[in-house]
Symmetry: C2
Subunit: 338 residues, 2 copies
């Protein structure tokens, strides 16, 4: 591998000049720029990113910390992020935490060790102080989840309240009255907001919110199965289900099918998160679609901005909130089913 020294020798110049040319830094005579570039081409030289990073105290790598990369939502978000990262010469380091706090801490330490150029976090179970320390070292963007504990960190979010509100309102308008909620862990902001949206919709429709129509899961499929089963087999069963995320919807849907209930006639069904299978099953499933890809892109955008401004005093905190979209399908429309 050719080094910058080889290039300097080849061009008959010093390494300083070569470096200046490569980084478009300082002022170099046009003729010399050409000479350097020719030498670079001749040798097929590529700068060693490790040497560069050591000196600059910054790696052009972004970390993406997610709780479950196999979930379509995160996979899609990742996709959006990767596209923008690549265009801007960044690499993406995948950090799958599986909701494991220890692993999360480990990855954050890694981000610090390697002096990452930025970090996108979708698994914010850490404390405010930890995040503050982190943010002193590199740009950080929270996506999907956030907490009131750290209001001074950029975030890209979805209007979860509205999403849940519109889905539940839609169910109400289609005649369902005892709408059960398969909720997520209350300490995760998204779950909390979706629950709030569910409650608002009921209240606005003049219906009392009762605890026995809410069952809490953990955002993974098995818990969705258990929660749905509980809600539809209760003494006073739900006549519709709203599920707080796509993974739990898999379990919930299987539960309903196992119990032999027919959707949408006997039970209305809607969920957060769109996924391919939801159009393949019969009836197809009404969903609140999140713009996951766009969230990834927006996060990338923020990182790039933060990188540019070396502003010592932090500019205004960015809170980018995207709108979810209610996609009405057959599972929530009585009379449209088979």
């Amino acid at each position: 591998m050719a080094t910058i020294r080889d290039v300097a020798t080849e061009a008959g110049l010093s390494t300083a000049t070569v470096s200046r040319v490569m980084n478009n830094n300082g002022s170099v005579d046009v003729a010399l720029v050409a000479r350097v570039n020719e030498a670079i081409d001749r040798l097929g030289y590529r700068a060693n990113p490790l040497g560069r990073a050591l000196r600059r105290k910054r790696t052009p790598i972004w970390g993406f910390l997610a709780s479950d990369i196999e979930a379509p939502f995160f996979a899609s978000l990742l996709h959006g992020l990767e596209g923008k990262a690549l265009i801007n010469g960044k690499l993406l380091m995948l950090c799958n935490t599986g909701e494991d706090l220890e692993r999360e801490r480990q990855y954050i330490q890694t981000a610090l060790d390697y002096q990452f150029g930025g970090l996108v976090i979708a698994a914010a179970s850490m404390t405010a102080t930890e995040l503050d320390v982190l943010q002193d070292e590199m740009p950080v963007v929270l996506v999907d989840r956030v907490s009131a504990a750290y209001p001074d960190i950029d975030a890209v979010l979805v209007n979860n309240h509205l999403g849940a509100y519109s889905a539940v309102t839609h169910l109400l308008e289609n005649g369902y009255r005892r709408i059960g909620l398969v909720a997520g862990p209350s300490d995760i902001s998204t779950a909390h907001e979706r629950r709030a949206g569910y409650c608002s919709a009921l209240v606005d429709y003049g219906i009392d919110v009762t605890d026995d129509l809410v069952a809490t899961g953990d955002f993974f499929a098995p818990s969705g199965h258990a929660a749905a089963t509980a809600l539809v087999t209760a003494d006073q069963p739900a006549d519709a289900l709203f599920v707080a995320n796509g993974q739990m919807a898999v379990g919930a849907y299987a539960a309903v099918r196992d119990l032999g209930l027919s959707i949408p006639d006997e039970l209305g069904f809607a969920t957060f998160d769109d996924d391919l299978w939801m159009t393949l099953v019969d009836p197809s499933i009404t969903v609140v679609r999140q713009p996951a890809y766009e969230i990834g892109e927006a996060a990338a955008h923020i990182l790039l901005r933060r990188e540019d401004v070396k502003d010592p005093e932090p500019s205004e905190v960015v809170r980018h909130i995207l709108e979810p979209e209610l996609v009405v399908r057959a599972s929530s429309c009585r009379g449209l089913g088979p």
Copy 2:
């Protein structure tokens, strides 16, 4: 951030000694080992991986090059790989190529620039010489796909021939006779082998293979839709479909549903790759399940082994072949449907 120099000062020793202690290298007096470790603890010192990598000419990062990280197969493979990587102190760099050759080359260049510790490739569209160059620099493992063009690179594969053979035989045993194949791109080894397995099964059953029962797609969903439509609307339509991968199965299944054909009575259906939705639809879908997670683990295992042996003469090439599993569900069993 504390550096190794700070630790040396704190312990009243030289950086060389500190380094030796950290790497368990050379021989250091027990008392001094303790002193160094205490100093490290006191300062909360963590070695800078960039400095280390620069000197060692090796980064503890593995790259994972896949064509489509959103496909459940790769997501699961990634998961298995990540687990083993993390345990062994490696980081995983995600390289999503989307079957784009330019992007693939770009990522390989990156792996070389950063002097990755290993590379797992599931998108081998490159030439033999490119791979050979790459392999001189770091351990490389091919997963899922391989080509006769480079027989001297380690690989973890699935017995695609057997998988297809058993699925098609199963369809034959259930009375289907005109089995259509939704095939993948013939230049991808997996697609080729699955097609061969399909043919073998027919031949062994005494049935002629005819080209009009084979439609070729590109391993993505839309092409599955088109291919399936063609096969079941032909003059002499297929009475069963075997789909060569899970993504195309999504499209194929939707096509069949759109055409109003009933599975399994009017049409048998089976596919490579298992996925959640395949148990959620009615009837559930018969699949050839690949041990994706285990492939990831096996690939990690090979990288670790190659890293240990600094053997100049390459030890035997590893060809790890895992067995797929036929999971029989309702879509392929006439008379078991609703």
